[in-house]
Amino acid sequence: MIEMTIDGIPVQVEEGSTVLDAARFYGIEIPTLCDHDGLSSYGACRLCVVEIGKGENAKLVSSCTYPAETGLNIRTNSQRVVSARKMLVELLVAMCPSSKTVQDLASAMEVKQVRFKVDKTNDCILCGLCVRMCEEQMMAKAIGFVNRGKNRKITTPFDKKSDVCRTCGGCLYICPACELRCQGPAADTDLCNACVNVQPVCLKEEDNKMCFLETCGWCYEELGRKNNKKEIIKK
């Protein structure tokens, strides 16, 4: 058994697990994108960053690939982690704004603006899930990463129909970019998250209706703002 602390809580995990496994086991949420049960860890999206180490030696690592070690002091929600995560998700949105998964992650982190140049033509975030799916679950090895740098992409050998592809659709199933984002009123803005950016009609005031937008967070936001105002007025 390995003993370490996550967010100040002492935890015990089995040898060979990753920091992410440990956090999940204890119900501590870390957002992930390129990690999937049944596939090897790859560490492509970096969304699962956590902070380890002390003082000047503190550093950010990807929890899905970092092995649990005795004595580790892991912070999953420090200022540094949260801002790194937000920037990463913004970069992901900029890379592939059409993906529902990415947009949802951005919404969940209440990202309201993308500071980077958005590429609306790109439809892949190079997370490698499809490649691992094809290799590890479908035993096909039909697709892979080709070229490098800014030309890196996923394709079959020579961009031709592959002889070994089973046309199982596993790669499509697992791809986080294949599911398109909400096609609602603001379908071609950089950030879809209508639920964060646009104030939804609040149903709280209506007695006979129930709100299902639990993750919208607007109520809390409003509440916060009102409280602030009150405080300001008081002062």
């Binding site: 090895k141 892979g144 990463f145 080709v146 490098r148 079959t156 050998p157 020579f158 592959s162 070994v164």
Partner: protein
Amino acid sequence: MANIDNILKKHGYKKSELIPILQDIQAEDRWLPCETLKYVSEKLDIPLIDVYSLATFYKSFSLKPRGKHVVTACCGTACHVRGGPKVLQELQNQLHIDVDETTPDKHFTLETVRCLGACALGPLVVVDGKYHGQMNTKKVASTLKKYSKKKK
């Protein structure tokens, strides 16, 4: 055509020797045709996509036919400020090809590189591994001439 079987044998059909094998083939044929990659992947029992990924990753492997002489112009910072772009333009004009292209007679291939670590010699043009320093638009023609086909 390189004798691929010989090259494979030389490396003992080892999977780990994929890069040296491809290098040897490239050294003989100057490029890696699709059939060659397929053959190597079958013989070494490596999935074709892995061979293809590797061959497209390294810039020294070419999946397009290359000419007899490879002309590489440096586009690094030092060469750039010393007039590298003009030299490159002159090379393109004289060879009538773009970067990463080969002349129709398969004699010259034009490539670019980011800094060869010999900035003092800039602007630098390398032909078949031989460095031609302090290049300028006037010297381009004479340099290319050295490598042109011998007139019979």
